[in-house]
Symmetry: C2
Subunit: 462 residues, 2 copies
Amino acid sequence: MALSEALQYIDTHFQRSVAGLQELVRIPSISTGADAGADGQVARAAQFLADQLAAAGLAARLVTAPGGGNPLVLAHPAAPRAAVPTVVVYGHYDVQGVEAVGWRCDPFAGLELEGCLWARGASDDKGQLWAHVKAAEALLAVDGVLPVNLVFLLEGEEECGSGALSRFLQAGGLADLAPVACTVVSDTGMYAPGRPSLTLGLRGIVFTTVTVQGPPQDLHSGLYGGLVANPNHLLVRALASLFDDSGRIQIPGFYDDVRLPSPRERAGYQALEQEAPDLLAGLGLTPTPGEPEFSLLERRWLRPSLDIHALRGGSARTVVPAQAAATLSCRLVPDQQPARVQAQLESFLRAQFPATTRVEFGPAHAAAPYTLDLDDPVVAPALRALQLGFGREPVLVREGGSIPISGTLAANTGAPVLFVGFGQLTDNWHGPNEHFSLADLRGGMRTAAALYYELAAAIGRC
Amino acid sequence: MALSEALQYIDTHFQRSVAGLQELVRIPSISTGADAGADGQVARAAQFLADQLAAAGLAARLVTAPGGGNPLVLAHPAAPRAAVPTVVVYGHYDVQGVEAVGWRCDPFAGLELEGCLWARGASDDKGQLWAHVKAAEALLAVDGVLPVNLVFLLEGEEECGSGALSRFLQAGGLADLAPVACTVVSDTGMYAPGRPSLTLGLRGIVFTTVTVQGPPQDLHSGLYGGLVANPNHLLVRALASLFDDSGRIQIPGFYDDVRLPSPRERAGYQALEQEAPDLLAGLGLTPTPGEPEFSLLERRWLRPSLDIHALRGGSARTVVPAQAAATLSCRLVPDQQPARVQAQLESFLRAQFPATTRVEFGPAHAAAPYTLDLDDPVVAPALRALQLGFGREPVLVREGGSIPISGTLAANTGAPVLFVGFGQLTDNWHGPNEHFSLADLRGGMRTAAALYYELAAAIGRC
């Protein structure tokens, strides 16, 4: 059959696939920070991918979203087939900037060493999306057609907010397609090396900054200290009231909408706990007491959290400062609503300040949590594809982080999003020495090819 | 008598005195910040003053303290008289840097406008020390001798910690002098314009930074949030516990050593409250509730305070930060001991953190509060001199700020320190548009000349 031929093709041409990924990671398509957009490298990466997808046999083009921004790469079969479902593959070709120190090699040299490719973007997300590009190429090479109407939708702004893609989707950019049966996102990590994983849920987020205004200018503390309200004092007092002694979040109503997964899903996570990689011990850290009725894994995946990321107030001189600010975020789980949590957070914090204090919130951003039902028809095919791709029984997991675009994708396609990640939590995304295992690249390509077949068989024409 | 002749001389030569001060303020002798010590301007200012004191008839020289630093200007009569007391005049010729914006004129042009001299250092402290230099010149011009053995001790590091002067004093730099009867410091403000003031006390200070260590590096809050201790959370919680709802400081024992002034002294301050300039209303600020049994003036002068000056933690990204820090200080009143308060503060804060948290303190600096007894023999002569100098009944005040070198001066001379300030609280020390009223310069010169006579008469040979 065509799938086994395609898997054969993947093996035979693997070194060429590695070489292609090396070409891709050598393009420093940085979209965020000081080096963002230097020398048109973002556009170069987009064009490289469009060319590769066209060479594989798809109709590929660059699309500028309403309002501009980095180009989207859009590719699909030149002649979509009416008899097969439409599946969107999402990925991002932009990368984070690089640190001046800590890299064992040039982050844009694409060095292959110790079975891995070492480069910025190798795992996040160029290597993962590349698995889909090369799987499509293999299937088209051996069979001339794809088992589904595969639509590549690759963005260049994931590391800086996905603005262009959001505008594109909200403007009905996918409306020309046949109804989408499923979106596949390979931009997450496996539970552990060699342990293929289907991510059933990601937490949402509400991120904001609270700014407290004090005197019109910094004042001498010898003259004004204790006489006028010090915004640093008001801020620490308000922030301290967010938690009780055990660390439980004190915002009224915060936990009201939290819904635990089904006992069956939760039992799966509890079983997984036994083989949980200890992310804390490696850093010399011990866990906080937290909620004793939940395991560490459950606290990361199933419970909401709140972190103060930044404190900024005054200066290290003897002043009553003019201003103080804190940046904080909540991670959300089903069925918490970002807008509701944001309102609860702001209203709770505001109430901690004297009525006369000027307190401002923002800039803020938010994203809803995402979960896929264990019984959704796309789950079983994805598990079979992962089993075939990596040769080991896959696990069902969640993730503590957030992929804000997932909610936008789900809302604008009306279809489930499958998070099938080929990376590892230890791949050093955003840090020095990012790398991607070539075994994971091969497993990802095999999984992707199998997934298209499995989805076609399971879903049929959507 | 010689004093009236000297006052006459001061009036006659006043424009020359203004011109001399203009020369002095045109030297940008910045000792702190980015512009510190540029082009030898600090040394130029020291040399200018030594030359002026020599021209007035004193033996003047520059002294390098043990361990170096900006030069001290030391001047005294070439032939000290055995029959008169020794009086030290302290001042500082270094200045703060200047802001790029906000100045109505070049801060080092020495512009005379609207009855004031506008320049960095015009009031803090070049104009005030200049009043003493020119008073000594006038007395020597009309009488050939001074009523006291006047010792000028001018430093160039007041704005950056007085390190050189402290080392000089601690190494016995004044040991060659006859026992000092009194040190005069003109580096403070009057209670209100036209209201000559004798400052009976300054608050002390304990200044430190508390640093809380978290994970070895910033961690992703989606992976680690809520699972590991967030140093921002620990810090705000600890800092919030410093105060109760009314703002009263919660450090055990903090208020134990606080001694209120005598009922007589306090009654004076209460009378003064009626004509207190409203420093808050001008900034659009209302006072905090504070301690209701004390007036605003009493809270500034007689009560200790605690201010958090700076908060620094993490970054405005979704991290559990590696570190958080706060810089804070306490203002101290008699009989609080800096070392004791520092220990109380550190021990209280440390106890707010889990035992396993790494909490560090420092760098710290401290200075004891300073007070002069209302019945000290130097008080009455100073009041008479101020009355003569400014033509209005002086008031007894305290100040909420700290002049750390005052304790060092008192300890190393064994003599009282007289704070006779000629500046105004509105002279914009350290800010843009610093200025000094020429009326205050004249009043200061007259006061200084009278003060030397009054001290000689009151104290006799010490």
